[in-house]
């Protein structure tokens, strides 16, 4: 699908995600006030009120634009990495178990169901709380360890979501004529999977992976809001958590990260949706 053929919504989504990725990669070189500096002369500057702080400042005087740009990196990297690794593990498990069927399939499917039986947020919360604890509750867990634990937990959350999609798609493809033909010609199972199954299953996984990125961004934000995620306003979610109490005095300081986060989730959902509807029409033609 070419960019030109996309609807206006999808075009906007692609452009927005492009801007976000630009912030992720080049964010720290954009000449703006440092996100950690608080400007005592400009506390609670409104949206578009000053040239120095285009999106205003929160009631501590932190520049919102540079904070949003800095927040892009942890928020996006956490979701991209956990969806990437989780998707890889999940789809490998799903494809192999659905192809082999029998006992292996039963075991893998039961494992997926076990993880799915606990809501993503509760599971993430429990894992983060358990893995990121210190013997002494008064000592702060370092941010780097927190980030690793969050990525690990979200990966575990993602594995069954994408694994199930891969399993379902493989089940429907592995009985098609060309697979049966390849098998009867004596092609090895590993070759059949790589040549015939994976290329057909991948589009379904891509479509759901986009939706999964949206889910992970939201869960990460919720974790921050509950105080077990990333602290000190480093990610979008924790920016929202930090200014929660200031909503009355400087509402725009929450509106800015909320809008950025929501736009990113909307863009991911839109692209996932487009991919999925394309997929449906392709399947329909078969």
């Amino acid at each position: 699908m070419k960019f030109k053929q996309l609807g206006i919504f999808s075009k906007a989504s692609v452009i927005w995600l492009g801007i976000v990725m630009f912030m992720v990669v080049f964010g720290q070189w954009i000449p703006l006030p440092k996100p950690t500096n608080f400007d005592i002369d400009a506390m609670g500057v409104g949206l578009f009120d000053s040239l120095k702080h285009p999106l205003g400042t929160d009631s501590n005087g932190y520049d919102l634009l540079s904070n949003v740009i800095r927040g892009a990196r942890p928020s996006m990297l956490i979701s991209l990495i956990s969806v990437g690794i989780g998707g890889l593990i999940g789809s490998t498990l799903g494809i192999i178990s659905a192809y082999k069927r029998g006992k292996l399939d039963y075991i893998v499917n039961t494992l997926f169901n076990i993880v799915l039986s606990v809501p993503a947020l509760v599971l993430g919360l429990a894992l983060v709380a358990v893995l990121a604890t210190n013997p002494d509750p008064n000592i702060e867990v370092p941010t780097s360890r927190r980030v690793i634990v969050i990525i690990l937990s979200l990966t575990i959350v993602i594995i069954p979501i994408l694994g199930r999609i891969a399993r379902g798609a493989t089940l429907s493809w592995s009985n098609r004529e060309f697979v049966v033909a390849a098998r009867s010609m004596g092609m090895k199972d590993s070759q059949i999977i790589m040549k015939h199954i994976v290329p057909n299953v991948l589009p379904a996984i891509y479509a759901v992976a986009f939706l999964a990125i949206g889910v992970v961004i939201v869960v990460e934000g919720s974790l921050s809001l509950l105080g077990v995620g990333i602290v000190d306003g480093v990610s979008w979610g924790s920016m929202i958590a930090r200014v929660r109490g200031d909503l009355e005095y400087a509402p725009h300081s929450m509106i800015v990260p909320v809008v950025v986060l929501a736009l990113t989730v909307i863009a991911c959902n839109q692209l996932g949706d487009i991919l999925r509807s394309q997929l449906d029409s392709r399947e329909g033609r078969l």
Binding site: F9, Y106, N109, T110, L111, N113, I114, V115, L116, S117, V118, P119, A120, L121, V122, L125, A126, L127, A129, V130, L131, T133, N134, P135, P137, G214, I217, V218, G221, S222, L225, L226, G227, V228, I240, R244, L247, E248, P251, M254, V258, L261, A262, V265, I266, N269, Q270, D273
Partner: protein, 336 residues
């Protein structure tokens, strides 16, 4: 024929066995997880300086057992109605069941309202947009709902709490009121009664229902579009029935299977999934209690809550399996 019958009779049993495995598996994993803490549970809960007393306390908590024996001990208690305890230094034990009897009804009320609101709004919308498929109305409904469904519910909750609760002051931004006033409520002048109850519930219900409305409408729309192509719809139309009557009596029921399946499965998911919303609005439900238990390191309590959530998931799965055939008799044949 004989073979068919055996397949039919073992299928639900197999399904039940798998669901049972899911509960056992998830509770075992949680039990393993809390034993694998970077900090030993005995260092959190046991503060007795006397070695003999310390050993006794550790034994009482079952922490001297290996993880498998520890799990079996917990499972035995759980089956017999002992959900474990909050452990405070001393040692003082407060049974989790006390908390559950207080918080679970609140969460169930919340979920019930959410489902009612979501279904009453999404069923007419889904039917309308499927009936008008491809028109401006359909596109308006679909796109509008899409954007609403993409707004994370905690974002929606914060915005609602601020603008409706604080700025406009129409309803209290946080808290909870019992629908029936107990003697204690009256003595302490707590907010209670139906009026207060619904006022307090409005915002959390809206925040949770909006994303559901979008997904339900979409599910129903897809299925109704498919049903409208069926012969019996053409038949009903040619008999001269009104469109409204066809939609509601002939089309809705066979199209609603996916919708009700998804609604039932969401019930299980919402038991713990309403956690953030419950925390934001201070609704004392099970999700709020989970967040508190985690913050105060009550891992035995966490274990009990997650077991209840897993049971809820399995319970609603079984309900779905049992009722689907009743809603759409065709699916009974299709499944064999």
């Amino acid at each position: 024929m004989g073979l068919d019958r055996t397949v039919k009779s073992t299928e639900p049993l197999k399904r039940l066995a798998q669901l049972l495995l899911v509960v056992l598996g998830s509770t075992f994993l949680v039990s393993l997880l809390i034993r694998l803490l970077p900090v030993g549970l005995e260092d959190i809960y046991v503060v007795n300086p006397d070695p003999a007393g310390r050993a006794r306390e550790i034994h009482n908590l079952g922490l001297d057992l290996n993880p498998f024996a520890f799990y079996l001990r917990w499972l035995n208690g759980f089956i017999h109605g002992d959900f474990g305890s909050y452990v405070y230094p001393g040692p003082t034990f407060v049974p989790v069941s006390q908390y559950i009897t207080r918080t679970l009804p609140v969460t169930l009320q919340l979920i019930f309202y959410v489902q009612i609101v979501a279904l009453t709004i999404s069923i007419p919308l889904g039917l309308l947009s499927a009936y008008k498929v491809g028109t401006r109305i359909d596109r308006f409904i679909s796109n509008g709902l899409f954007i609403f469904s993409s707004i994370p519910s905690f974002v929606l909750a914060l915005i609602l709490a601020f603008y409706i609760g604080v700025k406009l002051g129409w309803v209290p931004p946080l808290g909870y009121a019992q629908p029936f006033c107990s003697a204690e409520d009256i003595v302490r002048a707590n907010a209670c009664g139906f009026r207060e109850h619904f006022k307090m519930m409005v915002l959390p219900v809206v925040a949770l229902a909006v994303p559901l409305i979008a997904s339900y409408t979409r599910l129903l729309r897809t299925d109704v579009i498919a049903t409208l192509r069926e012969d019996f719809v053409t038949m009903a139309a040619s008999k001269g029935l009104s469109n409204r009557r066809i939609l509601w009596t002939h089309v809705f029921r066979p199209s609603s299977v996916t919708l009700f399946t998804s609604a039932a499965l969401n019930m299980g998911g919402l038991i713990g999934g309403a956690l953030v919303i419950e925390t934001i609005f201070s609704v004392p439900g099970i999700g709020f209690e989970i967040a508190l238990a985690i913050a105060s390191r009550q891992y035995f309590a966490l274990q009990a809550y997650i077991a209840i959530i897993a049971f809820g998931y399995v319970f609603f799965n079984v309900i779905v399996d049992l009722t689907i055939g009743r809603i759409d008799p065709r699916s009974r044949e299709r499944r064999q």
